[in-house]
């Protein structure tokens, strides 16, 4: 197995004449936490949509564990082990916290529709496993005492957390987090940083995240890719990226004299 869980080569996405993502290449290391940063409209979320199959790729390659996944159906990519959260939270709003996670556990059961309708032994056995798995996930993520609350009645921070739990229910090998700290105060952001590191250790997965909170990005990302106008601007460790003059220019303006 290669040391890179995800390899992106020459990825390009055009919407009509606009190249939202233009010839971007980067790798995500196995077991690492990588960050994707850049100003608004740089094409970060578009890259997530391309990796997870929500958008069709115009040109370029995406390989997950050595397997080409560009233009594969999103649900198949999820089945392979790539899953994500959304910038604007997309929970199953009218379902309870428990049911949100239980639904996402579905790939751990194999019983068919006739088996479900006739309530055959395999249905009962596997359904029990699913419920146990969902309970386990809620427990270790600290949502167990909220399990019966309707998802959209949760406070904002917990909704984000629930979305991560739902993603973990798929046993992903690569977790994509789209602005997980959006709308969080510094305290919550710090909690989230710990949570992400914990998840990585416990579930043995790799993380790629989009974030604007520089504390979070610089704090936990071992590898950072900087985008601007759909193109890769810079890449490297936190220190290397933050001292790159091109990055400073994109973030702070041309002369660097203006205090932002």
């Amino acid at each position: 197995m290669s040391a890179n869980v995800l390899e992106v080569k020459g990825l390009t996405k055009r919407f009509g004449g606009l190249a939202a993502v233009n010839d971007v290449s980067f790798d995500v290391r196995e077991g690492g936490i990588s960050g994707l940063i850049g100003p608004n409209g740089a094409g970060k979320t578009t890259i997530f949509n391309l990796i997870t199959g929500v958008y069709k790729v115009t040109a370029g390659e995406v390989s997950f564990q050595g397997r080409r996944i560009e233009n594969v159906e999103p649900y198949k990519i999820a089945d392979l082990g790539v899953t994500r959260t959304f910038q604007n939270i997309r929970l199953f709003k009218n379902l309870s916290v428990f049911d949100n996670v239980l639904t996402a556990c579905h790939l751990s059961a194999k019983y068919s529709i006739p088996e479900a309708i006739l309530r055959l032994p395999r249905f009962r056995r596997e359904e029990k496993v699913l419920a146990e798995k969902a309970t386990f996930l809620l427990e270790i993520m600290g949502l167990q005492d909220r399990r019966d609350i309707q998802a959209n009645n949760l406070p904002y921070g917990l909704q984000r957390r629930l979305e991560i739990v739902r993603a973990l229910a798929l046993d992903p090998k690569l977790l994509l987090l789209d602005e997980p700290a959006a709308g969080m105060n510094p305290d919550e952001t710090e909690q989230l940083m710990r949570l992400i590191s914990e998840i990585r250790e416990r579930f043995k997965l790799s993380v790629l995240l989009i974030e604007h909170h520089m504390d979070l990005v610089m704090g936990i990302c071992e590898h950072i890719v900087v985008l601007n106008f759909g193109q890769k601007l810079s890449e490297g460790s936190a220190d290397a990226v933050s001292s790159d003059p091109k990055v400073m220019e994109a973030y702070l303006g041309s002369s660097g004299g203006n205090k932002c």
């Binding site: 929500v54 999820a78 199953f92 009218n94 529709i113 309707q150 739902r166």
Partner: protein
């Protein structure tokens, strides 16, 4: 009111219920609206009749195969299911409203085709369908239909359909084959409508394309919404109430349908989520409602306690001052 009359209403309600249960899965659980399910009922009714009507003896009679009722039910349901599979392959990739329009066109197309196909009597209809639908037959089919649906909904497959209704994109990212589950919901709903059509034809003993117009499709969808989206018990209640209501309103004579409409509007205003509003009248369903209520309460108390604690802290920080 004599027993035959009441029995007739109950049978119509029971027959409607079968079609409504199918739509309950499609609309209430999977989130796809249809205005063409009378089309599937028509397919069921005509194929079912074709199976059971005895072979023609005199010229001018429309003959069938003279097979037992069970064969008619199975064939009617299967034919509707098969057609829905074809329809689904073409239309299920369409987004929400467009799918709805496509089903509307489908329902009308079926009716118009039957109107013009002379083999089955065309617009004049097909008389002489054997009267096989009894109260017991309808009751048995109803019970089986409810059990199947309840078991399907409370499984991973049912949860996947609900996920499609709630948030299609998130469902896909969660590894759910959205197209497949929409297709399953459509086929199941069409089979249910087809079976309802067979029972309807064998109750009326006469079928005519006019019976399966858009009004019928709309009626079915109204019952599902009226009962409450995502609730099987709601659909059962809705089918009973809305089938009986026009009969109870017979006293109003020509104003009957006006009162019917007004009653539906009034109930929808007072209960915007339908009669049952997504809840189920079953032990598990009631437990769920109770748990959700408890959780909400606990959550509120906790928030209040936190607020109070914060107030106390503020007071400690500035003693005597107004916090």
């Amino acid at each position: 009111m004599d027993w035959t009359y009441i029995q007739g209403i109950l049978m119509l309600a029971g027959i409607n219920l079968i079609a409504v249960l199918g739509l309950c899965l499609l609309t209430g659980f999977t989130g796809l609206f249809s205005f063409g399910h009378a089309g599937f009922m028509a397919i069921g009714a005509y194929i079912g009749a074709l199976m059971t009507v005895p072979p023609a003896t005199t010229a001018g009679n429309i003959g069938g195969f003279g097979l037992p009722f069970v064969v008619g039910i199975v064939a009617g349901g299967a034919a509707a299911g098969l057609v829905s599979w074809l329809l689904g392959r073409i239309t299920l990739n369409l987004k929400g409203d467009y799918f709805c329009i496509a089903t509307l066109g489908f329902g009308e197309a079926i009716r118009l085709i039957l109107n013009n196909v002379k083999t089955f009597g065309g617009a004049r209809g097909w008389p002489g369908v054997p009267q096989y639908s009894t109260v017991w037959a309808v009751l048995v089919v109803d019970i089986v239909a409810v059990l199947f649906l309840a078991n399907l909904v409370r499984s991973r497959h049912g949860r996947n359909m609900i996920a499609v209704r709630e948030e299609e994109l998130a469902a896909q990212i969660a590894g759910i084959d959205v197209f497949k589950y929409k297709m399953i919901a459509l086929i199941v709903s069409a089979v249910y409508a087809g079976v309802a059509g067979v029972l309807f034809g064998h109750y009326m003993t006469f079928i005519q394309p006019k019976m399966f117009s858009m009004t019928k499709s709309t009626e079915l969808t109204i019952i599902v919404i009226f009962g409450g989206l995502g609730s099987i018990s709601g659909s059962v209640l809705g089918a009973l109430v809305l089938t009986a209501l026009p009969e109870l309103l017979r006293a109003f004579d020509i104003w009957r349908l006006v009162f019917y409409g007004a009653a539906v509007i009034l109930i929808m205003i007072s209960r915007p989520k339908g009669l049952m509003g997504g809840m189920e009248l079953s032990p598990a369903g009631l437990r769920k409602v109770a748990a959700a209520r408890r959780a909400r309460l606990a959550f509120k108390t906790e928030a209040l306690r936190e607020d109070a604690a914060e107030g106390l802290r503020a007071e400690e920080a500035a003693p005597g001052g107004k916090a």
